[in-house]
Structures are given as structure tokens and as C-alpha cells.
């Protein structure tokens, strides 16, 4: 399975949850598959999906799922110690790890080579770190939601992309409808 297939399989689990989605293809794929006011699409700022999601989880009580990529987590590796040391039990970081920078043409990341983000997250002090295969992702994510414990999921999948249109929605519209969904 490639990332777009993983996201497609997650749609029923993500529905109704607050989702902060990574820049580029992940946001475009989620937007295409299941656009909702509970989705916050990042249009810029590679690497900050996990940080935005953690800030949101710490600020209110609803469950927050950050969808991130291995390349983006490597860009903002300092996020993992911050997550580990500021536990929010309504927060789930889902790293879709395809070992490549998908949005720029599938160049390999170090996570696809010698570096294990699962081991990095554990070494940073994260307590519930689960590595799973693509096919297991919906069940693992649902279990993490139900556990009400902060969880980091590293979902391994294959590299590859489908053609998806860019998001043309205005950023202020994305933010405004998301904030209304958060507050509702």
C-alpha cells in the first residue's frame, strides 16, 4: 500500500476527529478523499503538523490526530522530545513512513535507510510508540483513540503517489471553519 491508500483506509476512523494534516500530498489526498471542517490542511511550513497538533491538544479536550510523514518529522525532529515531555492524552501522532519525500518526487529519507523513527520516538521519551504495517493502520489508530493515551504511531508503507489536485481553499477559510469545528 502507498500513502494515499493508507489515508483512504483511515477515512472512516478519521471522520469526526480533529485532524491536522501534513503539507503537500497528504493534505491534498485527505482533501480529495474526505474534505471536512474538522480537517486542518497545512498549505506551507513543512515539519510543523506534529507541533500544531500538540498545541491544539494541550489547549482543549477533544482528540487531535496529527498526520505527519517521515520526511516532515525528520525536518522537525525536536518535536519528539517536546511531545514526550508534554503529555496530552488526547493527542495522537500518526507518522506515515514511506521512507521517501513523496511530495518532491520520492527522494529517499534517512527513515527509509538506517534511521528508525520508532526507536527515535522511544529514545525521546515517548511512552506509547507503535510501529505497524499499512494494512493494520485503521485498527491501530482506532485502538489509540479508544485508549485515551498519548500515542505515536509509525505506519510503514510503500513509496509512491497518485495525481491529486492542489487545495485552492483560502487558508483563512480552512482555519476559520476548523476553529468553529473545534469550538462546537
Amino acid at each position: 500500500m502507498i500513502r494515499s491508500e493508507v489515508i483512504k483506509s483511515l477515512v472512516p476512523v478519521l471522520a469526526e476527529q480533529l485532524v491536522v494534516c501534513n503539507i503537500g500530498l497528504p493534505s491534498q489526498e485527505l482533501h480529495l478523499l474526505d474534505d471536512r471542517e474538522t480537517n486542518f490542511y497545512m498549505l506551507g511550513t513543512m515539519g510543523l503538523s506534529s507541533s500544531i497538533g500538540l498545541g491544539l491538544a494541550l489547549a482543549q479536550d477533544k482528540t487531535v490526530i496529527s498526520i505527519d510523514g517521515d520526511g516532515s518529522v525528520l525536518t522537525n525532529l525536536g518535536t519528539l522530545p517536546t511531545i514526550a515531555n508534554n503529555v496530552a492524552n488526547n493527542y495522537i501522532l500518526l507518522i506515515i513512513d514511506n521512507g521517501s519525500y513523496g511530495s518532491t518526487g520520492d527522494q529517499p529519507t534517512y527513515a527509509g535507510k538506517k534511521t528508525s523513527l520508532t526507536a527515535v520516538a522511544e529514545a525521546c521519551g515517548c511512552e506509547n510508540v507503535i510501529e505497524c504495517q499499512a494494512e493494520e493502520a485503521p485498527a491501530v489508530l482506532q485502538k489509540a483513540i479508544d485508549s485515551q493515551q498519548m500515542t505515536v504511531i509509525v505506519c510503514k508503507c510503500e513509496s509512491g503517489n497518485i495525481k491529486v489536485p492542489v487545495i485552492t481553499m483560502d487558508p483563512v477559510v480552512i482555519r476559520d471553519r476548523f476553529m468553529k469545528a473545534v469550538a462546537s
Partner: protein, 165 residues
């Protein structure tokens, strides 16, 4: 009341309840007072762009955020300020120690100081420069201004304001 106490008092009075910080000697007392204050949720960050992500999330979660950092961070965070904070129109008071001004003992700090206001001007970020301790009297109005206009706003605090290093 010290300038540090006044700043934290103004933050609380303006319902700023989420603060992310990187360490700073000059702003150290402010950071300590925030850590001790039950009204403000303090999340130390490892890099300032990470902190701006945390602040963006906290804002969307209904809290008023602030970030405390040094002026070198303006060099680090240009992309985040432009494509997150400004693009999505989010308020963010940035309380900044302005290293490299008069009294600075470390020459390298001057290298970033000479670019600080130019970068802020280029980014069209409203900028206020605290040079005398009395300037802290404007902090309350600056916070109100920031949350009125939904922009990142810079408060540069130099060594003269802090009365030395």
C-alpha cells in the same frame, strides 16, 4: 513591580494562557514567572519555528498564545511566520530579547542585530522597540493590538531596557 513582573501580569490580564519559550538570559525571569504562574500553560520548545507551530495549535484550540525568543530566531522562522502565522491570519505576540545592541559583549550577536529590524520590516511585522525600562508601560496596549489585528507582532527588548546583561 519589576519589568518582568509587569510583563507577566499584562499577559495574564490579556488572557494569554499559552506560552512557548526557548531559553534566554535576559528574559529568564519572565520565563521563570510564566513557569510558576498557574494561569499560563508553559511549553518549552526546542526551536522557534516548532514553537510557532505549538502557538498556532493553541490559538486554534481557543487559547491566546505568546512566544518568547531571541532576535536570532527571526532568521530561523521567516518561512513559518509567512506561511503559517501570517497566511492563516493568526495573532502572535513575540517577546524578543534584542541581542547585539549597546552593551553587547558577544561580537557575533551584532551580526544578527543589524538584520533584525530590516527583516521585520520586510515581513511587514508590527515592531515595537523597548529601550528604556519605562517602555514596558506599552506592553499591555501592544498585546491588545496584537489580538485586535490577528498578526504576529514583535517586541524587541534591548540591553538598555534590561539595564545590562
Amino acid at each position: 513591580m519589576t519589568v518582568s513582573e509587569k510583563m507577566v501580569s499584562d499577559l495574564v490580564a490579556n488572557d494569554v494562557t499559552f506560552a512557548t519559550t526557548v531559553p534566554c538570559k535576559q528574559l529568564g525571569t519572565v520565563i521563570d514567572l510564566i513557569e510558576e504562574n498557574d494561569a499560563i500553560h508553559h511549553v518549552p520548545c526546542n526551536k522557534e519555528d516548532e514553537g510557532m507551530g505549538l502557538a498556532a495549535g493553541a490559538f486554534m484550540g481557543g487559547k491566546r498564545p505568546t512566544i518568547i525568543m531571541q532576535n536570532t530566531a527571526i532568521g530561523v522562522t521567516v518561512n513559518t511566520l509567512v506561511t503559517l502565522t501570517q497566511y492563516y491570519r493568526m495573532p502572535l505576540p513575540m517577546l524578543i530579547s534584542y541581542r547585539g545592541e549597546l552593551g553587547e559583549p558577544v561580537a557575533c550577536q551584532v551580526e544578527m542585530a543589524v538584520h533584525t529590524k530590516g527583516l521585520l520590516e520586510q515581513l511587514k511585522i508590527p515592531t515595537f522597540h523597548f529601550h528604556h525600562p519605562d517602555d514596558v508601560g506599552e506592553f499591555d496596549a501592544i498585546l491588545k493590538h496584537t489580538f485586535m489585528c490577528n498578526k504576529p507582532v514583535a517586541i524587541l527588548t534591548d540591553a538598555s531596557f534590561w539595564q545590562g546583561y
